[in-house]
Symmetry: C2
Subunit: 303 residues, 2 copies
Amino acid sequence: MTFSLTILGSNSAIPTLTRNPSAHLLNVNGRLFLIDCAEGTQLQIRKFHVHFQRIQRIFISHLHGDHFFGLIGLLNSLHLLGRKEKLHLYGPPLLKEIINLQLEASQTTLNFPLVFYPLSFSGYEMIYEDEKVTVHSFPLLHSVPTCGFIFREKKLERKIRKDVLSEVKIPVTEMQNVKRGRDYIDEEGKVFKNEDITLDPPSPRSYAYCSDTAYTEAILPFIRQCDLLYHETTFMQNMADSAKEKQHSTTIEAATLAKKANVKKLLIGHFSARYDDLQPLLEEAQSVFPETILAEDGMTLNI
Amino acid sequence: MTFSLTILGSNSAIPTLTRNPSAHLLNVNGRLFLIDCAEGTQLQIRKFHVHFQRIQRIFISHLHGDHFFGLIGLLNSLHLLGRKEKLHLYGPPLLKEIINLQLEASQTTLNFPLVFYPLSFSGYEMIYEDEKVTVHSFPLLHSVPTCGFIFREKKLERKIRKDVLSEVKIPVTEMQNVKRGRDYIDEEGKVFKNEDITLDPPSPRSYAYCSDTAYTEAILPFIRQCDLLYHETTFMQNMADSAKEKQHSTTIEAATLAKKANVKKLLIGHFSARYDDLQPLLEEAQSVFPETILAEDGMTLNI
């Protein structure tokens, strides 16, 4: 099953010609989840050859412009391009009002249903679930109400061993039970123990997105041991005072959190426009957490 | 005096990788007037090396997204980049509410005064005047209230002939009067007729911007004989029905209007994203009005 992440924007508030502000795209088995949507995101989607209309759910972490100013333009383009399929939007309550006011101003009635789910910011909450994946939100520590999100694959089914299948005739009606861990008993009463005829499934994967936040260990329980943690790293450590004042994080802070949460990999982004060369940020983070990588517009990671 | 136009976006509603939606920048003697501001305009400004903070006045023709979705992002970036100077904004009344709601959502108080002037759409009106230029708005014919704008240089002063200046000692205090057309009488009572000692000034220049509109001759009195007429040309003539239905214009319609208004030059833009090659649009317009040119992102025209 595909579980991959494409970075549509890696910069903080001010866009540059090489780095757009925040937007991530998670591909879960062909269904696309867009996470934040800065101005210009629709062009990034076009540039990186993403199929626009496959976006099913959009998650907006907070109402600073570099995380949502591109949403209204994206909705408008989906409308003009003839979308009919329902679109699900998760965000702060005021977001709905902002969208409605702009649609009203342009006398636009979207051709597709837009279903809005207000985020509560009050704690760790499941905001979406289907047969493949769950999505939880949790509060971050920022100057306006802000959510992080964690996307988790559900536990996958056990795999029936191919060599067993050629010898034992398991009826189709029993297959599902075996995949779920039950033993198989044939017509003559012979018992095949589940552990002898199946293989462990791959571990479910997880992706945590921490958009804008000061350093906070309160989020550790939610992101622990995730496969990929995206954590904002607006500043290098020598600007820790600015980070604190603006409720953002530094390289060392993001890496410390990744280490304490025992995650597999750390992805840093939301870089201040003052940094042309990001190598020093990477090295600083890696000094604490070696498994760190830099977000880069257009990159795709298979989690 | 500089009187030049830079195209920041030449496309209609949906941005493409080579053509952004509407935004024009008029440079009047170093002061910048931004006309419409689609999503991504701030990046176009950066790409084409325009000095952000020199923008003094912004004119928004109407509230379709491809004409204003980039405004809030531009204001936000001007704020983050430390602007202190007043910014003047002209637009439909609801625009103020849209901006305020988004500033409120992000708990942002702009560092600079934003002075808002609501457009009335009721007729031909002077909305700005200084010692160099006037700006008038006039209603267009579109599906939501929409304004065109005409920017006119004021009549320039006469030029005192250099050969005269070396022979006749005109006191500095009299210079201004002579430039305004008065005769000069020296201390001995000798009369120098103004027409003998001055040259005609260059004709004042004018630029008319007609953003989104169906064909309407009602605007002829406002745009007559202007130096450069920008008129939207969303469609080719074979899509006249679509143009009519969506209250947009075709090549032939824009060119016909330019001809009837006896303008010096016609600039066409707001092209539908369906057209990759714009040459056929240009040729169709030129068949009626030869002095037609195509808008192209990044081009600068000295009017």
